[in-house]
């Protein structure tokens, strides 16, 4: 055992010294994560606002104007242009100067006065299905509000509904609806995992490239010791990155930390082990550093995409949801969100932790086995 420790420590010191001289790698590992976190935390905001709306008012009556005015008061819409002919509005939509336009028919106010329903046409640019969907929802809601106001002005029944059911939504955990929290936690998880695989693969293949691997293999050190020593500095660096990412998110975005800190650390450790395992395994099948990195390039995007880090899992097609159970990143994301944004009970998180541990163990063993075989 002592011999094992002695060799392990000696090898680790060698690796740390090598890593220290590799300034580029250090910078790569420490700076981009922070920058990425800040940029994407600010940039990613799927909230729809300022939809550019055109208006074709064929009625030109006080009623239609009041109707349009209540539309301009709505913050979701930005009534940019008014058109006389429908054809012009269609052209503007085609040229992407508008996201939508609304056509108020000639008989709008006459119909209203007579109590007939009036058809207002709305044309939406549906290329972006999500935005179009949300715009539809906004419109429906606006209409409900606008009509109560409208009826009041007209001296009609202001529809003070009695017996109406009211629904009150309460948002838990994030009552201020801070969008960056979701993305920042997701990106944090991605960084640990991807950086682990990238750096580990680069380091593991380096000895092969420089030809020093034979020398290493001739030393009395066991392959497991070699692998452990190789990954220890990376592992420590990754934990620093994780802390850095957490610190930045808390300071810049006010991310809360409500759960247990040790759960955060332990899951981060397992995830970086799993990432390192993937990296080393890929390194063993490739001949050069460049090939290894290309392979990680090939493996990482799918893992990131189906992990639920950047878009909610429920939204994905069933097939991808099932597939995501084989993605270690999925469990890390769940745990990190569980201990930061919400204070999830341990009983809900431990299956995730167990899965993550299993992945770390399996991936790391595979990498050890592959490393030995070469």
């Amino acid at each position: 055992m002592t011999a094992f420790l002695r060799r392990y420590v000696a090898l680790t010191v060698k690796e740390i010294q090598q890593l220290r001289r590799n300034r580029g790698l250090l910078i790569q590992l420490l700076i981009p994560p922070t920058v990425v976190l800040v940029i994407f935390g600010f940039a990613l905001n799927p909230k729809v606002r300022d939809l550019r709306m055109g208006v074709v008012d064929q009625s030109l009556t006080p009623q239609s104007r009041a109707f349009i005015n209540s539309l301009t008061e709505n913050l979701s819409f930005d009534v940019t242009r008014r058109f006389v002919r429908t054809q012009d509005a269609e052209d503007a939509l085609n040229k992407m100067d508008l996201d939508m336009f609304i056509v108020i028919p000639q008989d709008f106010s006459r119909n209203l006065r007579r109590g007939h329903p009036s058809d207002v046409q709305v044309v939406l640019d549906a290329v972006d299905a999500n935005t179009a969907n949300i715009a539809q929802g906004y419109l429906k809601q606006w209409l409900l509000v606008a009509l109560t106001q409208y009826n009041t002005w007209n001296g009609l029944d202001p529809t003070t509904p009695t017996g109406a059911v009211r629904v009150r939504s309460t948002v838990l955990y994030n009552p201020g609806l801070v969008t960056p929290w979701f993305y920042v936690t997701g990106i944090m998880s991605i960084l640990i995992f991807i950086n682990g695989s990238l750096v580990a693969s680069a380091l593991a293949v380096k000895e092969k490239e420089t030809g020093t691997i034979e020398q290493l293999l001739m030393t009395p050190a066991q392959t497991v010791e070699m692998l452990l020593a190789k990954t220890t500095p990376v592992f420590i660096l990754l934990m620093i990155v994780l802390m850095l990412a957490l610190g930045v998110s808390m300071v810049v975005f006010g991310l809360p930390f409500r759960g247990s800190f040790w759960l955060f650390i332990v899951s981060g450790m397992f995830a970086s082990l799993a990432g390192i395992g993937i990296g080393v395994t890929l390194a063993t099948v490739s001949k050069s550093q460049q090939q290894a990195q290309l392979l990680t390039f090939f493996v990482n995007p799918p893992l990131t995409l189906i992990s639920g880090a950047s878009s909610p899992l429920e939204n994905m097609p069933q097939f991808f949801q099932k597939l995501s159970y084989f993605d270690p990143l999925r469990y890390l994301v769940t745990i990190i969100r569980g201990v930061t944004i919400k204070d999830a009970p341990f009983s809900a998180l431990w299956p995730n932790l167990a899965a993550l541990a299993a992945f770390a163990l399996i991936l790391f063993s595979i990498s050890a086995w592959r490393f030995r075989k070469q």
């Binding site: 600010f42 940039a43 929290w181 290309l294 390039f297 090939f298 995007p301 429920e314």
Partner: protein, 369 residues
């Protein structure tokens, strides 16, 4: 010209010998296109909802049915002694609907009962959407049961969805992902091609030869731009199968835009290769610069308009922003030159800029200090 072609030929031979790179070059675009086109979706579906019905009357059941019938929600059961907060904290459900006691009686008597919806705010965007969804489900419940006179019947909105009437997400992301795929590979290959020369030290030979800097970079870039077009063809075929790509009436729009896009991609990669001088750093640079930035800021995932103004300028200097714009317009809207004139102009300017920067970098063809 002959020198350029000779250089291009040499580059192509080298590429052909690197089997892994070629396999990845053909396989990866297809896999990525499939993944990026079909997996992201911001549309909420099947959100897990737990219901606490403290009234248990026909009316309360009907109220619940309104939610259960919506495609947005999926009802899940809760343990008998589990509170709504617990169910949310455990991640069993994303929202909880609480119907108060005496719900039906209050409705009949004209008191206004308040139904609560507790929403998990982890994903702030989803929480907003769910809140709005609840409001419209609530009003549809009222007008359906005829409880309240609803003003909404007076004006009806006739909605027309243009260009993507099925509101299909794969169509939207599928077209955008063409831009993502073509952002990655040409830049990667360009970066590797240059960095390899530096790593192997072969760059001296290029310096010592009669090649000028201009000829050198042109010859190097040519095969990768050509390969980019091959990728375009493959991806277009896959796109026709999976994402309803159609050949636009005016295919020159796509071709010209793709040409500028590939040129800026390859030269951006070569710029990185030149600046870093090592393959692994170049790969990292491409991952950050060409891939991550394009993925997140180009309008592929979220509209560019949603990006805060302070960092929106980054989106405008990304070729991917303009290319995704052109691809979507051309394939979905079947837009002609007049519509996409601006983004193609921007692409051309970016392509020329990257090329010029490259030229400046290698003009002297001397070792960096």
């Amino acid at each position: 010209m002959k020198k350029i072609l000779a250089q291009a030929n040499k580059e192509w031979m080298q590429l052909r010998r690197d089997k892994l790179l070629l396999v990845l070059g053909v396989l990866m675009p297809v896999v990525l296109l499939f993944l990026y086109g079909s997996s992201p979706s911001l549309q909420l579906r099947n959100v897990r909802l737990v219901v606490y019905d403290y009234d248990i009357t026909p009316l309360s059941r009907e109220y619940i049915a309104t939610y259960a019938n919506a495609i947005t929600f999926r009802l899940v059961a809760h343990e008998p002694d589990e509170s709504a907060e617990e169910a949310l904290a455990r991640g069993k459900a994303v929202a909880a609907l609480v119907i108060p006691p005496n719900f039906e009686r209050d409705v009949r008597r004209g008191n206004n009962p308040i139904v609560q919806l507790l929403i998990d705010g982890t994903d702030a965007n989803a929480a907003t959407v769910l809140g709005n969804m609840a409001k419209s489900l609530n009003s549809s419940f009222q007008s359906r049961t005829g409880l309240v006179y609803s003003g909404a019947t007076l004006v009806s909105l006739q909605q027309r969805l243009w260009f993507n009437p099925g509101l299909s997400n794969p169509v939207y992301f599928g077209t955008g992902s063409l831009g993502m795929v073509l952002a990655l590979f040409p830049a990667l290959l360009g970066a590797l091609a240059i960095a390899r020369e530096y790593e192997l030290g072969n760059v001296i030979q290029a310096y010592a030869s009669s090649l000028t800097g201009l000829e050198w970079i042109l010859g190097k870039s040519l095969p990768y731009i050509a390969l980019g077009f091959v990728e375009l063809l493959i991806c277009f075929g896959v796109g026709m199968l999976l994402f309803q790509y159609r050949i636009p009436t005016d295919p020159t729009v796509m071709l010209v835009a793709t040409f500028f896009y590939l040129v800026s991609g390859v030269f951006f990669g070569m710029l990185l290769g030149n600046a870093t001088g090592t393959q692994s750093a170049a790969i990292q640079g491409v991952q950050m610069g060409a891939f991550l930035l394009s993925l997140l800021l180009s309008g592929f995932l979220v509209p560019v308009r949603n990006i805060p103004a302070a960092i929106r300028w980054i989106a405008y200097i990304l070729p991917a922003t303009h290319y995704v714009n052109v691809v979507r317009n051309s394939l979905l809207r079947d837009a002609g030159w007049t519509v996409v004139f601006r983004p193609i102009g921007a692409l051309a300017i970016l392509a020329i800029t990257f090329f010029a920067l490259n030229w400046l970098q290698v003009r002297k063809m001397q070792f960096k200090d």
